[in-house]
Every structure is written in structure tokens, then in C-alpha cells.
């Protein structure tokens, strides 16, 4: 079957099998930030935006995404780059495999709630699993980023 969707702002048309998952479709389109992790819709590694809502691309049929807007980290570089340095400063990415999913969902969190508490950050990111860090590094990184923004965002304070 043929589908057409908007991927990172560009119209993409492709022939797919009816059971193609959005995860596989996106990787075929070169969006390699979308990682295959658990494949049980539990780990958050394959997070993308579907009509600006964060979803697990391993849990969406590509056919259902037809006619919709899909964004991956490749299409959100400018929005992401402001705070990923803070994640790196905390050594929070370690192996880095979960990082794209974490970054995508953090963008979703900050769009919905620009000034979250630590508990709100933990709750929103609870669907992103990391097997290296214990999550404290990511939390410190996001908190440092938010504090930096509150102070005007001029000095990284490194």
C-alpha cells in the first residue's frame, strides 16, 4: 500500500506492507536517531512526535501515520541543541543509546510544562528507560538547563 505523510516538514510517499511499524519506516527513511530498544512499547527509545505528541514509534503502524505530521530528532536539532550540552555536562548519556528518546520526550515535557518540578520531570520521563545512569544525571542536566534559562541563559557557568 502507498502512504504519504509529512516527515520533519517534508512530504514523503512510500510503498509499505500493511504491518510496517513506524519505527521501521522511519529508519528506512534515514532517521537513525529512532532506536529499536525493547520492541514491547516500554523503553521510550523509539520516541517520535506524531502530530506534535510524543509516541512510541514501535507501537504505531506506519499506515496509521499516513496523512499526519511525524517529527524525529533529526527535525528538532535546533530545539534540542540548547539543552543537550547540559545532559552531557552531567555525564548523563553514558552509552548514549537512550539519549534520542530522552531528548525527544524532554522537548515534549518542556513544550507542555516550561517550568516543571523535579517530580513532574520524573513523572513525564518515566517511560524512558536508561540502563546506565540511574536517571539522576538526566534529572540534574534538565534541572541545570532550566536554572540556566531562568537566569537569562547567557552564561553556561562552566
Amino acid at each position: 500500500m502507498e502512504i504519504s505523510l509529512t516527515l520533519n516538514g517534508k512530504t514523503v510517499k512510500a510503498q509499505i506492507a500493511p504491518d510496517t511499524l513506524l519505527l521501521d519506516f522511519l529508519r528506512q527513511q534515514g532517521c537513525l536517531s529512532v532506536k529499536r530498544g525493547c520492541e514491547t512499547a516500554n523503553c521510550g527509545l523509539c520516541t517520535v512526535f506524531l502530530d506534535e505528541h510524543p509516541v512510541l514509534s514501535c507501537g504505531v503502524l506506519a499506515a496509521r501515520a499516513a496523512g499526519h505530521q511525524v517529527r524525529t530528532l533529526e527535525g528538532l536539532q535546533s530545539e534540542a541543541e540548547e539543552f543537550v550540552g547540559f545532559i552531557a555536562d552531567q555525564g548523563a548519556e553514558q552509552c548514549g543509546f537512550c539519549n534520542p528518546g530522552f531528548v525527544m520526550n524532554t522537548i515534549a515535557l518542556l513544550r507542555e510544562n516550561p517550568d516543571p518540578t523535579d517530580d513532574e520531570i520524573r513523572a513525564f520521563l518515566s517511560g524512558n528507560l536508561c540502563r546506565c545512569s540511574g536517571y539522576e544525571g538526566q534529572l540534574r542536566g534538565i534541572r541545570a538547563y532550566l536554572d540556566w534559562k531562568k537566569k537569562g541563559g547567557a552564561d553556561r557557568g562552566e
Binding site: M1, A17, P18, D19, L21, T40, A41, N42, G44, T47, L50, H53, P54, V55, L56, C58, G59, V60, L61, A63, R64, N105, A108, A123, F124, L125, S126, G127, N128
Partner: protein, 263 residues
């Protein structure tokens, strides 16, 4: 692995209903549970073009389309005001935000899964389901029915309860629940639902009048013990029967005392 022969976006409920009569057909909800199965589906029927996504609130009720995501329910101000935050509490522990943006209320209820958090709460709240062929029936009645090839169109939540609570026990955050408990004050009296027994949720009423004199620490404790004795609890990979029985007492007691505070 899920294998699908044909994908169809139904253009009417009648089309979806006709297509789903074939044994090899499946109506798609969020597909999160479906994709975990090793299954070959002839026709996958998608309801996403039928306008079944959204929550309508009137003076008398909430009307929740079957394709509404669990996240939309979790963050709906009207639903949370009506349930005293029980709706958000019920849904907020299900995997993660990205999962709940996909999982639909129709899929969660139609499957009548034992682990379903929303089945437990909505049953206690006296929700009804509207099926395309069978019509409107109480969720409690629907949950007891054998599986039929019908289409769940919407959930109707009458505004008849005064106060609700939801509690669950999980071995780890975001996991399936080991036990779920919900209670609501209905016009006919206090009603509670127990789910993840590990079977599907069931309703219980205060048949012995334990709470007739009001909810106190003593009556809540007694009711919790009575409930744990009444409920058919079982064993699975997550918990044993005796563990569930003990947890049942605690969830019921804590839930009832929380409900008493809301008065």
C-alpha cells in the same frame, strides 16, 4: 510477531462492523497489546477516521470516544475535577506518556484485560459503554459478557457519583498493577471495584453495611478485611494470592480513608 494482510480505514461504523465479523479481522485500538502477540490478522480495521477521538462534557455526563487516548483522559480538567484527581492517578502509572498517547480507552476496555487500570475506575464510577450493534450497557455487565464481534463506539460516564478514589499496587513504577482498587459514592451507596486480581475488575457493594455508620479508621479496616475475604484473588507471575489478599486490605483501607477526607 504481528502480521497484517490488509489495512482498512473504515469510513463508517457499519463498514467497520461488517468487516469485523470475519474471524481473521481485528479492530485496532492503540495496537500496543495486539503487537505483542504472535498473530496473523487478515484485515486490520482502523477507526481513526470516524471522529471517535475526544471527550464531551455536558451537565449530565461525559461522552468519551473510543479512540480517545489514555493521556487525554489523564489530563482532562473536567474529568479530574469530577473524580477528585482519581482519573489522573489511575492512568499516570501506565508505562509512560508516549505509551498513553497511543493507548485508547476503547482498546483498554474492549479487551477487558485483568490488568486494566481504567476498567477498575470506570466500573466503580458507574460508566456505560455504547456498542454499535448491542447498544448501551453498563460497563459492569459488558465486562462479564463473553467476547463478541462488535464495535465499542464510546464510553458514557454519568455524573452521578460524589467522590471517587483510585489506588494500585505495582512491583515497580510503570509496571502492570498487582492489584487495583477504586471506590465511588454512588446514589445507592458506596461501590468499589477490584482489578488485577489478576482477573478482570469486579464490583463490590457494602452488602453487610460495614460502612453504614460512616468511614472511620475501624470501619475502613473492617471493610478491607471483608473485601479481601470476598474477592476471588489468584496467583500469577507478579504476585501470589495471599500477597494480593493482604494488599487488598491495605488499598481498601487507605482508599476509603481518602474518600472520607474528601467529604
Amino acid at each position: 510477531m504481528l502480521s497484517i494482510g490488509q489495512y482498512v480505514r473504515a469510513q463508517s461504523l457499519e463498514e467497520a462492523y461488517t468487516l469485523c465479523q470475519k474471524k481473521s479481522s481485528v479492530v485496532l485500538g492503540g495496537i500496543l497489546w495486539l503487537k505483542m502477540q504472535n498473530r496473523t490478522v487478515g484485515t486490520a480495521i482502523d477507526l481513526c477516521d470516524l471522529g471517535l477521538e475526544g471527550i464531551e462534557e455536558t451537565e449530565e455526563e461525559f461522552r468519551i470516544g473510543a479512540m480517545t487516548s489514555l493521556r487525554a483522559l489523564e489530563t482532562h480538567p473536567g474529568l479530574n475535577a469530577y473524580t477528585g484527581g482519581a482519573m489522573a492517578r489511575c492512568l499516570g502509572s501506565i508505562v509512560g506518556v508516549q505509551f498513553r498517547n497511543l493507548a485508547t480507552i476503547g482498546g483498554s476496555l474492549y479487551g477487558r484485560f485483568g490488568f486494566s487500570d481504567p476498567l477498575t475506575l470506570l466500573m466503580a464510577l458507574g460508566a456505560k459503554v455504547e456498542l454499535y450493534h448491542r447498544g448501551v450497557l453498563e460497563l459492569e455487565e459488558f465486562a462479564a459478557l463473553p467476547f463478541e464481534r462488535d464495535i465499542l463506539v464510546r464510553v458514557i460516564l454519568p455524573k452521578t457519583t460524589k467522590g471517587a478514589v483510585y489506588r494500585s499496587q505495582r512491583n515497580t513504577a510503570t509496571d502492570f498493577p498487582v492489584l487495583t482498587f477504586a471506590a465511588a459514592r454512588r446514589p445507592e451507596g458506596l461501590v468499589c471495584a477490584l482489578g488485577a486480581r489478576p482477573g478482570k475488575a469486579r464490583l463490590f457493594r457494602d452488602e453487610e453495611g460495614i460502612l453504614a455508620g460512616g468511614i472511620t479508621p475501624e470501619s475502613a479496616e473492617t471493610f478491607g478485611r471483608w473485601l479481601a475475604d470476598q474477592a476471588a484473588l489468584g496467583h500469577d507471575l507478579r504476585a501470589g494470592e495471599e500477597y494480593r489478599r493482604r494488599i487488598c486490605r491495605v488499598l481498601a483501607r487507605r482508599g476509603l480513608l481518602e474518600l472520607a477526607k474528601e467529604e
